[in-house]
Amino acid sequence: MTTDSRPPRCIACSIFRREIESLQASGALDLAVDYLPSMLHMAPDRLDARLTTSLTEAEAQGQKVLIAFGDCCGHMEDFRAKPGIDRTEGINCCEIILGREAYRRLRREGAFFLMPEWALAWRQVFMSQLGLLGSNAKTFMQEMHTRLIYLDTGIQPVPWQALNEASEYLGLPVEVLPVSLDPLLASLREAARSASHHDGQ
């Protein structure tokens, strides 16, 4: 990969779109960003393929890349190990937003997180993608989790109607947890800095 002074190209999960756009609008972040659909999280092999294509294109243009994703497909860490590429630190988008300790504590308590984009798309996630229909939805979620937590990044109004409908359908109480964009910004900046100086492992 050639050395240049351009900032890395960012390939991000659309789960972060509004948050990244807000950081760009505030002047806190100066990156060109391409988004991949967050629903690819449900099809890791397809996410692998889409990222491979995007990274190959960037490599052909001699561009360094920041991947704003969690460890959401089988080869994510292999991508990260390549020269000129790095990734936001965290297992998934929720850990990237919350930070490791808060994420671990809440997961231990049985939390199921909803980022704003998925809160609005909850029917697609639970019914279409996971196939949780009828009584199976409640049985499943109540066995695996204790509550839903909406991560309110403050970019858009809390979608109370969608949250209440999801809570009723899944049989779990819902909480709203206001979160700062600072951990996401710090993670993006660190990955951008690292990608710029990363000559491979």
Partner: protein
């Protein structure tokens, strides 16, 4: 024409219809000994289901896998109740074995399904839960006499922690005697990681875990017992 109960049970599971699946089991059990339901109906049906699941075909989704494991639990619960009243063992005793999600892994579904299928196959399963460190796994194996650990991890990042479990097993001189089964989405996507991270084997679906554990248990028996252990 005789009813094909196995086909009907499979269809109900593929529709994620738990009540419908239990109705098929009830219909099969009418006039038969319920004790035969696992070897004659449930096990062969789950074997077929497991193959479809492993191939990613036949309408298998997260919900259908979950319902299959709940049907296995339902059958086992009934069997245990009936056995208690007859004061006879429900199933031939196998095990003990352990299952748990490795350190930093908080995705319980696959592990819970594996535990359900193992129990329905007669295994004594100790389910340790999520985020289990290597010492916890091996301490519990030594305490219970387990010969197989089933370690679950969904992502590459957490699957790497299987390496720590491998190291702990080896550090205590238990390699071979204590077998390490690994599973989870990333191992299905990247089977080469099973060996790379020190696993002794994997199954392509939770429904195929009983066959894997049987193989690993037999493999374990070929190794010398550890000091003080009384071989069964």
């Amino acid at each position: 024409m005789d009813r094909n109960y196995s086909r009907d049970l499979l269809k109900a599971i593929q529709k994620a219809d738990r009540a419908g699946a239990n109705a098929v089991v009830d219909a099969w059990a009418a006039g038969r000994s319920f004790h035969q339901v696992i070897p004659e109906l449930l096990a062969p049906t789950l074997e077929t289901f497991g193959k479809l699941w492993a191939q990613g075909s036949g309408g298998v989704s997260l919900a259908t896998g979950y319902v299959a494991s709940k049907v296995a639990e339902d059958v086992l619960s009934r069997l245990l109740l009936e056995s208690a009243s007859r004061e006879a063992p429900a199933l031939p005793a196998k095990g003990p074995v352990l299952v748990g999600n490795v350190e930093d892994d908080f995705h319980p579904l696959g592990r819970k399904m594996v535990a359900a299928f193992l129990r329905a196959a007669g295994w004594e399963v100790h389910d340790l839960g999520v985020d289990i460190g290597p010492e916890q796994f091996v301490d519990k194996a030594e305490e219970t006499g387990a010969r197989v650990i089933g370690a679950s991890a969904m992502m590459f990042t957490t699957a790497k922690n299987v390496e720590k479990l491998r190291e702990e097993i080896d550090r205590r001189g238990l390699r071979g005697r204590l077998q390490l089964a690994v599973g989870g989405a990333v191992f299905k996507l990247r089977p080469e990681l099973v060996e790379a991270f020190g696993g002794d084997g994997t199954a392509a679906s939770a429904a195929e875990a009983p066959a894997l554990f049987e193989r690993l248990w037999q493999q374990s028996l070929t190794f010398e017992p550890v000091s003080g252990e009384v071989r069964p």
